[in-house]
Symmetry: C2
Subunit: 763 residues, 2 copies
C-alpha cells in the first residue's frame, strides 16, 4: 500500500461547485407544491400566552397552515443529539417543544405559518393576535442560581440547584485538591467572564420538510448531523425512524456546531407545518433569526485555583464554571463537562483535580455547541493561571508548561490514552515563530502609547465524541465497473473539505487513483448510521471505519481476482488501480471490475464501527499591540502549532487552523452578543456583530506538527475545532505581557481595555 | 419464520402519493438554474445534412447551448442496456450517436437547444437552418432484406444479409426439423403479419441532467433501469462510472420496456446539452415525440411449420421471423432471440426445433423492448398453428396443448429447468372460466350478423434476464434504532407496486412488521448495481437477493442479541418484531436495536447475487363477438390463468395480469402504428393511436394458479410481462371460432376483418 494521496495539497472536490455558484444549498431547494414558512416569536423574555387568535392569519389568501403550541404536539424533546443517542451520565433533559405557550426567551417559537410565498407567510404571522402575560425573567447565570431567582424551567425546579439544567457536572481524579493545596509551595487564582459569541456561519439555518400523510417525512436541511436529526425528529413527531429521511442538498454553508441534531430548529418547525398541510414547507432563517434564535457559544463565569511545587510541578487544580445555557438545555450539561475535561484537565499532568460546572438556565437564547465545545472556556481560565504561576515561581511560562504537559503515559480523566503528545514541540515551534525569547517580558522597556507583547497558550480537545456518547460511523465502499471508487457515508460536508480528505485516505487505503473517486455524503437514505460532523471527528473517525471496510474490500477483490486469474490471492497487491502479483503487474482494477461485472459480481464492502478517540495537542503564541490611548488591541500575529498526527491535506488542514484562529481572535478582542433587557440581543446581523474583518486579520502562521497518532489511520489526529481553543488565552496573556494588566473580562474591546488600564493606574 | 404479509392484499405504498398528486415525477423536478431543452428532429426518413447553421438560434436571447452532430461527441453506442452489460452471443451493435448528420428516420436527432424556457428553446430549434439531401429509404422488413434495398446502416453493410442488424438469430435443439417433418403424420403452416404498437405509458420520456465541468453528471429521469443507464451514459460520454448518478425522482409513470438503458434517449440528449453549458437541463418529450421518436414493439412477419403424429404428439417446429427493428439496433438482436426461445419454444415439448429470426433495419423509428419482448410475436404465430393442427387431427385443441405442454423434466433451449409447470392447470381453469366446452366450435350453429366464438392460447416467458445477459441485484438491509426496517435497492418502481410487494417479502423474510418497513429505490448513489425493472424480474429477483441478505441480517441480530441477553443465538427466532428464545418471547427487535445502537452497533446486511430464472406458464381464453356487417370485433371476456407460483400481493398480481390483457386486447383488435411515406407515423398521440378505452375493456377474469416454484422465494414466479403475451393469439383463435376465417394480419380492425370475411366468402 503506497501513500500517494495522503499528504498532498489536492484541490477540494467541492471547489468547482462552490466558486461557480452551482452548488446546491438548502436555500436553493425547490420542491413541487412547496410552501414557505415563517415563525411567530416571543417579544418577551419570559411570558405566558393567555390567548392566541389565528383566525385572521388563517383567513389570509395563500395561507395553508397555521401551527401554534395549541394545535401542535407538545411532546418534550431536546434539540441536542445526545437525547436519543447517548448513554449520558446525566438523564437527558427534555425541555423543548416545537411551539410554546410559555416562551422563555425573546425569539422563542410560539406559532408558525406556511403560505404560498414568504411574504404572505410573514404577513400572516403579523395577523396572529396574542394576549401576553409577562413573567419575571433572569439573564445572568450568577443571578439565576440564587435561590430566589425566577424559575426559567419550573418543570425542572430543584431546591438544591436553582436553574441548573440537569444538575452540576463534577469531574475529579487523583487526590483531594482541598487537601493538596495545603501542601503547595504556590497557589494562584484566576477568574474570568467570557462573552456569548455566535458561530456566524455563512448559511443561516434552513430546512425543506415534506410530510406525506401516510407517515413519511423527508427533510432537506442544513444539519451537520443528518442521522441524529432524523432520530430526534422521529422521536419528537412520533414517526417510525425508517420513515424519516434527512439529507443535505448536498452542501452546507458552515456549521461550527450550531446545527447538530435539532439544535438548528428549522427542521422540526418546517416539519410541523408540513404535517399540518401535507405539502412541502421551506423555512429559511433570516440572519436576524439566526443570530437571535439559535444556539451560541456559552458565555459565563469561570474561576480556578492552581497549586504547584517550587520546582514548577503542578499539584492541584480546582475549577468552577457557571455557564449561561439560556432557555433550553440542548448541549448544556455535555458542554460544561467538556469544558472541564478538555479545557481544564487535558493538557497537563495534574495529580489532584476537581472541576465543577454549572449549566445555568437563563431567559436568553439557548447556548449550545460551538467550535471547541467548552474547551475555549476552560483554556481561558487555566492558561492565564499558569502564566500567573510562572510569574510567581519566576519561571519561563513555556518551560513551566513543558514540565507539566501530558505525556503518552499520562492517565487522567479520559478513559483512553492521550495518544501522540506533541505539546512540547508545539510550544517550542510556536515560541520560535513568535520570537518568544526576544519579545517576551519586554513591557518595562517599552515607552510611548503603543505597546507590544507576546503570550502563549497550550491545550487539547478531542478527536471524537466516543466514548462520551453513542458515536459510530458506517461506510460503504464499492468499485464501479470501470474500477473507479464510490464511497457512501452519511457524514456531511459542512465546509472543511472533509469529503476531499476522506477520499484521499480512501484512495490510499484501497489503492485506487484519487481523481475518479467519489463520495456520497449527508444522506440518511443512502447510508446507515453516522453520528455526523462534529467533535473534531470527521476525518479521524471516517478514516478509521474506512480502513476496516477497505481491508474487506481488498479481500473481496483479491479473492475474486485470484480465482479469475488463477493466482494466489495472498500474492496480490493493489496500488493506484494496478494489480500486481509478487510485484509484477497482472491486471488493472478497471479490467477486473469489468470482468467481475460480466459475471454478476461487484466488489463492495461495508463497516460499521465505534471509532477510538485521542487528544489533539496544540500551542498558540500571539503577538499583540495595545494602544494605551484608545484601548485598541491589535493582534499582529498568531503562530499556531498543532500536533495533527498526519496532515492528510496540508492546505485544508491549515485552512482549519486559520479559520479557528481567526474565530479565536474575534472571541478575544471583538465579538460579543450584547443583551439589552426588554429588547433582547443587540446583535442581529453582521453590521452589529463585530466579526473580525480582513483588517483585523493577524498574520497567521500555521505550523503542522506531525507526530503520527497510534490510534489514527495514517496517524491522523482531529483538527477541526482546535484552532479556536487556545487563541483567546494566548492573546490575553500577550496583552498582559504588553501592559502589565491581567484582564478578567473578554472580549478586550477598546472601552474595556481602557477602563482596565485606568483602574490599574497604567494610563 | 411466519408468513404474515406475503399473500395479503396490502394497499400500495405509493398509493397516497399517486392519488393525491404529491408524488414527484421527472416532469415535476426543478433544479436551481435549470434550463429547458428541445430537439431538432429530421423531417426525412433518410437524409444527409449538407450544412447546418445555428447562428440565428445561438443569437436568440435566452438560448444557452446549441448542440449539433458537429459539436457533440460522435462516439458510437447502443441505447439498449446489453451494450455494456452483456456477454452477448452477438457482438453488440454500436450504431447510435447522440446527434446525427445522417438521420435514418423521421424524428432522428440532429441538434438540440437548451434555453431559459421551453418556448425559447422551441423557437431556437426553428431558427436552425439545415440544408438536407434526401437519401433513398426503406420501410418494410421484407423489402429491406432484398439485396438491392437501400442501406439503412451502411456501417454494418453485410453482403450476405442486407439490413440485418447483428446477423440472424438461429436457435435449434433436438433433431433436424427438415428431416423430422418427413416423418410427421400432419404438418400445418401459419403465417402472420403483426403491427408495430407503442407502450403508450402514462409519462413521456424525460430527464433532468446536470453536468458539472469537474466531471460529474447527475441525471434524474424516467429510466426503468438506473444502473444500465448510468453505465451507458458514462461510456458514451467518456466519464468515470463513479461520477455519473442516475435516479428516479422517485416515481416513473410506467415503462413497459420503453426506457431500459438508454432506449429512452432523453437522458443523453439532456446530458449533452448540460455538458455544453454547465447548467442543469430538463428535457421532457412531448407526447408526439414519445410516440414517434422512441422505441416501440417490433412489428413484422412470422411464419411457422408445425408437425405432429396422429396421436397429437408434436414432432417438429420451424419458425421464421422478420422483425422490423427500425433505424437502430437497440434490443433488436436480443428480442428476436426471445421471440424464438420463449414465444415459440418455451411452452411445449418439441423434439425437433428450429427458429430463425432476422432483426431488420428500416428507415423507421427504432423498435426495442416492449412488455413481452418477442414472446407475443412468437405466441402469435405458434398458437394459431396449434389450433390448425387440432382441427387437422380432429382433437380438442386444449387436449392437444396439454398433451404437449412443457413438464418439470423438459429440457429445451433454456439453460435452466422450467420450474413449476402449471400450463395444464391454467388451460383447464381458463377453459372452465370461458365455458369452453359449451361455447367452442359453435360457428355452424350461429345465425345473424353477430357471431360469437372462443379461443385459447398458452405460453411462457421468463422471470429474469439471467443467464442471457449480465443480470444481478444488490440489496442492503438495515434495522433502524426503533426496530423498523429499511431496504435499499436501486431497482425502480415503475408502476406495478413492486416496492410494496418487495417489502411484504422482506418483512416476512426478516420477521418485522410491514407497516413501518421502508424501501429506498431507483437511485444509483444509494445502492450498488442493479440491472433494473424489466424481464418480468423485479419481485422474483429482488426477493431472491433479499432472502440472502435477510439470512445474514438475522444472523447479525441473533449473534448480538444472544450475547446481549446471554442466550444461545441458535435458540432465537424473530417474528413480526418479537424475539423469542425456544418459543418464549424475550424481547422486541425495537428494544434490541435501540440497545445495540447505544453500543454503537446497527444491524445491517447486504447481498449481491445473480438470481436464477424460471418459466412462467399461462393460458388465456377469450370470447369474442364479431359483427359480420361491420367487421367489428368485440372482445367480451378474457379468462387469464397464470401460474404465478405464489401471489405475494394478489391484488397487485391481478393488476399486472389485467393491464397486460388489456394491452393484448389493443394489440389484437385496435392498436397499430400506421406509417405514411414521406410523413412518418400517423399516430402522434392518444387521439390517433387507438388504445382500448373503458368501452373496449372486456370482462377480465384473472385466475392465480399457485404452484410454488422451487427457484422462487416463497415460490414466486415472475408475472410482470406475462398478461399481454397470449392475448392476441387467443382472440385470433376466438375470431376464427366465431367466423371460420383465419386471419393473417393484426390488429383485427373492422376494415381488415370485413375484407377477410369477404375474401373468404363469408359475407
Amino acid at each position: 500500500m503506497s501513500v500517494r494521496y495522503v499528504g498532498k495539497d489536492i484541490p477540494r472536490n467541492d471547489g468547482f461547485d462552490k466558486v461557480t455558484g452551482r452548488g446546491v444549498f438548502t436555500f436553493d431547494v425547490h420542491l413541487p407544491r412547496m410552501l414557505h414558512g415563517k415563525i411567530l416569536r416571543s417579544p418577551y423574555a419570559h411570558a405566558k400566552v393567555l390567548s392566541i387568535d389565528t383566525s385572521a392569519a388563517e383567513a389570509l389568501p395563500g395561507v395553508r397552515a397555521v401551527c401554534t403550541f395549541e394545535n401542535t404536539t407538545a411532546k418534550l424533546w431536546n434539540g441536542a443529539a445526545p437525547m436519543f443517542i447517548t448513554p449520558l451520565p446525566h438523564k437527558p433533559v427534555l425541555d423543548q417543544t416545537i411551539f410554546t405557550g410559555e416562551p422563555k426567551y425573546i425569539g422563542d417559537e410560539v406559532a408558525g405559518v406556511a403560505a404560498d410565498t414568504e411574504e404572505i407567510a410573514a404577513q400572516a404571522v403579523k395577523l396572529i393576535r396574542v394576549e401576553w402575560q409577562q413573567l419575571p425573567a433572569v439573564y445572568d447565570p450568577l443571578e439565576a442560581v440564587k435561590p430566589d431567582a425566577p424559575q426559567v424551567q419550573p418543570r425542572f425546579a430543584n431546591p438544591e440547584y436553582n436553574n441548573i439544567c440537569g444538575g452540576p457536572v463534577i469531574l475529579t481524579f487523583g487526590g483531594d485538591p482541598d487537601e493538596a493545596f495545603k501542601h503547595c509551595d504556590e497557589v494562584v487564582e484566576y477568574r474570568v467572564k467570557l462573552p456569548r459569541v455566535k458561530q456566524a456561519q455563512m448559511e443561516t439555518h434552513g430546512a425543506v420538510a415534506s410530510y406525506c400523510p401516510d407517515g413519511r417525512l423527508d427533510v432537506i436541511s442544513t444539519t451537520q448531523a443528518p442521522y441524529p436529526t432524523k432520530m430526534i425528529l422521529a422521536e419528537a413527531l412520533d414517526l417510525p425512524v425508517s420513515k424519516v429521511t434527512v439529507r443535505n442538498p448536498p452542501y452546507v454553508g458552515g456549521g461550527f456546531g450550531v446545527r447538530i441534531g435539532l439544535s438548528g430548529k428549522a427542521e422540526i418547525l418546517a416539519a410541523a407545518l408540513s404535517m399540518k398541510c401535507g405539502r412541502p414547507v421551506k423555512l429559511i432563517y433570516t440572519r436576524e433569526e439566526d443570530f437571535t434564535c439559535s444556539d451560541s457559544r456559552h458565555g459565563g463565569y469561570l474561576e480556578c485555583r492552581l497549586g504547584a511545587r517550587k520546582d514548577g510541578a503542578f499539584v492541584a487544580l480546582d475549577t468552577r464554571a457557571w455557564l449561561n445555557t439560556g432557555a433550553y438545555a440542548t448541549f448544556g450539561t455535555d458542554l460544561v463537562g467538556v469544558c472541564g475535561a478538555c479545557g481544564t484537565a487535558g493538557a497537563y499532568v495534574i495529580p489532584n483535580f476537581r472541576y465543577t460546572g454549572w449549566p445555568v438556565y437563563t431567559n436568553q437564547m439557548t447556548a449550545g455547541a460551538m467550535r471547541g465545545f467548552g474547551s475555549p472556556q476552560g483554556n481561558a481560565v487555566v492558561e492565564p493561571a499558569i502564566e500567573l504561576m510562572a510569574q510567581r515561581l519566576g519561571m519561563d511560562s513555556i518551560e513551566l508548561r513543558k514540565k507539566n504537559s501530558t505525556r503518552e503515559d499520562t492517565r487522567n480523566w479520559f478513559p483512553f490514552p492521550p495518544g501522540s503528545c506533541g505539546t512540547n514541540e508545539c510550544l517550542d515551534r510556536a515560541a520560535a515563530a513568535i520570537q518568544w525569547n526576544e519579545k517576551h517580558g519586554r513591557a518595562a522597556q517599552q515607552t510611548g502609547p503603543v505597546r507590544r507583547g507576546v503570550g502563549i497558550s497550550a491545550g487539547t480537545h478531542v478527536s471524537n465524541a466516543a466514548p462520551f456518547c453513542v458515536d459510530y460511523n458506517t461506510v460503504l465502499l464499492r468499485i464501479e465497473r470501470d474500477g473507479t471508487l464510490f464511497v457512501n457515508s452519511a457524514i456531511p460536508e459542512i465546509g472543511p473539505g472533509s469529503t476531499t480528505a476522506c477520499l484521499q485516505v480512501a484512495s490510499d487505503l484501497i489503492g485506487v487513483p484519487f481523481q475518479n473517486a467519489v463520495m456520497k455524503f449527508g444522506d440518511t437514505d443512502a447510508a446507515a448510521f453516522d453520528i455526523g460532523s462534529h467533535a473534531t471527528r470527521t476525518l479521524y473517525t471516517v478514516s478509521y471505519v474506512m480502513a476496516d471496510a477497505a481491508k474487506e474490500l481488498r479481500r473481496d477483490i483479491f479473492t475474486w481476482v485470484g480465482r479469475h486469474l488463477d493466482l494466489d490471492p495472498g500474492s496480490l497487491e493493489l496500488d493506484d488501480g494496478i494489480i500486481t502479483s509478487g510485484g509484477k503487474p497482472v491486471s488493472t482494477l478497471a479490467e477486473m471490475a469489468s470482468a467481475a461485472h460480466l459475471e454478476g459480481k461487484q466488489f463492495m464492502a461495508s463497516s460499521c464501527k465505534v471509532p477510538p478517540n485521542c487528544l489533539p495537542f496544540y500551542a498558540q503564541a500571539a503577538e499583540v499591540e495595545v494602544d494605551l490611548e484608545t484601548g485598541m488591541v491589535k493582534v499582529l500575529k498568531v503562530a499556531a502549532a498543532h500536533d495533527v498526527g498526519r496532515a492528510v491535506n496540508p492546505r485544508l488542514c491549515k485552512g482549519q487552523i486559520e479559520g479557528g484562529v481567526l474565530q479565536g481572535v474575534g472571541y478575544a478582542v471583538r465579538e460579543e452578543m450584547t443583551y439589552v433587557e426588554g429588547k433582547g440581543f443587540y446583535n442581529k446581523g453582521f453590521h452589529s456583530y463585530m466579526l473580525p474583518t480582513a483588517d483585523d486579520r493577524p498574520e497567521i502562521e500555521s505550523i503542522l506538527v506531525e507526530n503520527p497518532d497510534p490510534s489514527g489511520v495514517f496517524g491522523i489526529i482531529g483538527i477541526g475545532e482546535c484552532g479556536v481553543n487556545p487563541t483567546l488565552a494566548a492573546i490575553g496573556n500577550a496583552v498582559e505581557d504588553a501592559t502589565g494588566v491581567r484582564f478578567h473580562e473578554f472580549p478586550l474591546t477598546p472601552g474595556r481595555v481602557l477602563a482596565g488600564l485606568k483602574a490599574a493606574g497604567k494610563v
